[in-house]
Homo-oligomer: 328 residues x 2
Amino acid sequence: MEKMKIAILGYGNLGRGVEFAVGQNDDMELTAVFTRRAPETVKPQGHIPVYHVDELLKKKDEIDVLVLCGGSATDLPEQTAEYAKYFNVVDSFDTHAKIPEHFARVDRAAAEGGKVAMISVGWDPGMFSLNRLYANAILREGSDYTFWGKGVSQGHSDAIRRIAGVKNAKQYTVPVESALEAVRNCENPQLTTRQKHTRECFVVAEEGADKARIENEIKTMPNYFADYDTTVHFITEEELQRDHGGIPHGGFVLRTGKTGKDGEHNHVMEYSLKLDSNPEFTACVLTAYARAAYRMNREGMQGCKTVFDVAPVYLSPMTAEEMRSKLL
Amino acid sequence: MEKMKIAILGYGNLGRGVEFAVGQNDDMELTAVFTRRAPETVKPQGHIPVYHVDELLKKKDEIDVLVLCGGSATDLPEQTAEYAKYFNVVDSFDTHAKIPEHFARVDRAAAEGGKVAMISVGWDPGMFSLNRLYANAILREGSDYTFWGKGVSQGHSDAIRRIAGVKNAKQYTVPVESALEAVRNCENPQLTTRQKHTRECFVVAEEGADKARIENEIKTMPNYFADYDTTVHFITEEELQRDHGGIPHGGFVLRTGKTGKDGEHNHVMEYSLKLDSNPEFTACVLTAYARAAYRMNREGMQGCKTVFDVAPVYLSPMTAEEMRSKLL
């Protein structure tokens, strides 16, 4: 069997995760890592050649799918549309509000190149989106709920670190258990921001810093913390490294709905993820959709696709017969 | 907007559920119910014409999708292949071991007729299968678990009713909470049949019947009960009707897996359903896949399909743009 040739652009936590994920799939191999840094400073876990991004187009024939591992703020809005002209690509673009715009730009590029470009692949957007779609298509009269956590929010951790006197910080988003239970009990609660999630902050203060001021600045920060019940714990750098070194995340997607002559029957559909490593799990999803991008393009499909456009059969290395006998 | 014309063959609990489900979807209408009984004895909830099944082919042009609401034991093995020659069809064939054979026969018929035939649509097979596939494609190194219940097993209830001295009975399949917790904690337990589910039976005995003998016959019944911890409660017919009149079901699909350099990160993917009415929920799934069958056939697709072959975008009445902005 000839293996799918996967390349990575960007070797941070996500790129490293894709390297691990490709290693778990017999039908693909990682042929190259591309970076904007000096290639000699990037050290993959395996014996994978590292090239500067300027070499990317020269390696065109050695790449079946390019997995874009940059960030949604500045990298992907440029990279995905640029490289979709030349490669089947997959990205994890997760700025929900800007997806329609990103889709349109990438779709033009992928159509021009005759390639498949999968955008917004991961768990939210991604697996959570799929569950919202399936549940909405099935339970037509009902309510949707998405809860995130318990998990590390990078954006909120960064916001705390920008406060004067803060040396380091980690912020966890935590779903409110009683709100989850009310949803599961089909109480159809109308939940405010404060009622859905709490925020828990672990902060390392600089020596002599005014902790009361820091705590107050965190708790009153607009958009990030003011609308939530926020807890602040001051700890040492050693404690932060020891107890809060990981990047866990996860969450819950629920839809409750009614059926029957008079809506007398309640139904609860629930999907949840509990992830020790947010980037490594996201990388696994990207890798499955890289397989789909390759197969769909080989069948003649092209243009921008999201998880909604991908028949599940394209994601698994099994044959369709195996899937039907083992998984159906 | 022209509405999709849906017809039902077989008007039991499932057919009735499809009637309700179609009523929750603005883009479709129920145009006819077909039955093998005397048509005048079948009373849909709405003003829907009822015809004998012998009239089905004559109504060919008034039907976009025929939803087959018969049973998997004897109805669907004949009906799906027969009608896939003339109609886009959807069935809920759920004899897992015979799916490959059913698929092959239906595929020939649907290809012959140029139609789309969706088989094994519901929640297991169906939504549970999808979750097994997605989770397996993403977490490549891991373990799968499916738990059913708490819910009514019709087959087990029937088996109890066949025992001499039993007037009526209802059997619940119940997942073992501690086993579920062990899976969620990534303990990768090897679970025996007994460790996964218990069986709870509510039995109405005939007057003067030997309850000890009935209880013993239930608990030692091979295949059905002998491998399980089974509880038997004797109750009155009134209690059975009052407290156990529904057809609830549900269950859990879990996959746990490892990622990272040395598999140091655990991940848990969990999907669960809690359904007040098994047939009405199944009917909602059938109805969503009826929409997909119609749309896929209009795009030129044909042959037998399962939930694995259907891109999620075909299931929702929303436009692709709406889905991307509201659900992704």
